[in-house]
């Protein structure tokens, strides 16, 4: 079934990316953006919307070096969304088969994940199909990406409340998002 028909409304949700050039990694970024957006659709759409606002406010505050971008930021943003929508229709077919890219973007090497899974089986004899293994890989990939994306949102929220604004992800951010994240997975 064509991917487009299912979630155009979801994809409209803002990606978590600040409006900056994405340079060489663009196809990957596209893939990730649509993946995360869709994954988030279950419960955090509202959050995502606020994050866009936060993001823009954060840009206004952060530093003088970025003040030039301010005027253009919203427009670039909407442009980008359209680009992504178009791209995600055509590009996955072209780019996903590239194995180099796939290995590059996976947070956990498959052998390590395989080992970790088997370590935690209670029954030594339990096996896992190759296809299922690939799917678990994707699952963990989404999990880690979600964690980082949500941490970024938390960081912006904290910065907005007058906390530290050093552009660092802190453990506190992770602590705030962990319960919901684990519930969502």
């Amino acid at each position: 079934m064509p991917p487009k028909t299912i979630n155009p409304p979801k994809r409209k949700g803002p990606a978590f990316k600040p409006p900056r050039p994405v340079n060489a990694t663009k196809p990957t970024a596209t893939k990730r953006a649509s993946a995360t957006t869709a994954a988030r659709a279950a419960g955090v759409t509202k959050k995502a919307t606020t994050s866009r606002q936060n993001a823009q406010q954060a840009t206004t505050i952060i530093s003088s070096s970025e003040s030039e971008d301010q005027g253009e930021a919203p427009r670039e943003d909407s442009d980008r969304d359209e680009l992504m929508d178009d791209a995600s229709d055509d590009e996955p077919r072209d780019h996903q088969p590239a194995p180099a890219q796939a290995t590059q973007t996976s947070p956990i090497p498959s052998q390590l994940l395989n080992r970790l899974l088997h370590e935690n089986f209670e029954d030594e004899g339990t096996q896992i199909q190759k296809g299922a293994m690939n799917l678990v890989e994707k699952y963990m990939d989404i999990f880690v990406r979600e964690a980082i994306a949500r941490a970024d949102v938390e960081r912006r929220a904290a910065a907005k409340e007058g906390g530290i604004m050093d552009g660092f992800l802190h453990v506190e951010d992770l602590e705030k998002l962990a319960p919901q994240l684990v519930l969502d997975f």
């Binding site: 990694t25 996955p92 089986f121 190759k130 299922a132 964690a147 970024d152 050093d166 660092f168």
Partner: protein, 130 residues
């Protein structure tokens, strides 16, 4: 006692490996997002991911046992997403993509067979499950 220690050490080593992998990934991701992450953040994220993997593997094992199998198949993995529609959609697409890559239909039907990992998933002409 000795085996306990050995197990603990093995777990530590696996965690270190995971830490390294997660660290690499977080660094890449941070460059893309123009961010930074504290080392403690990476450590905490590693713990979170490790726990999640442990839970996942126990879930998968339970699911396949419930299905009367000893081999985890893709249906079991799809069950992980039962509470999150968005996630289910994404994984389903990934599943379809993987099958398309296999280039010969899909297996889907839980006709488990003790295939050793390393062999392809797809076999038989059965079409998409569920």
């Amino acid at each position: 006692m000795a085996s306990n220690e050995a197990a603990a050490e093995r777990e530590e080593r696996l965690k270190s490996a995971l830490w390294y992998a997660i660290g690499q990934f977080v660094d890449d991701e941070c460059i893309n997002r123009n961010l930074n992450a504290t080392p403690r953040f990476i450590g905490a994220l590693t713990e979170l991911v490790y726990t999640q993997i442990a839970n996942t593997s126990r879930d998968l094992e339970t699911f396949s046992k419930h299905g009367g199998r000893r081999v985890i198949n893709t249906d079991d993995v799809m069950l992980l997403t039962r509470r999150n529609e968005g996630l289910e959609e994404v994984l389903k697409k990934e599943l379809d993509r993987l099958r398309a890559e296999e280039g010969r239909g899909a297996d889907a039907q839980p006709k488990k067979r003790g295939r050793p990992s390393g062999a392809g998933v797809a076999k038989g002409k059965g079409k998409a499950k569920q």
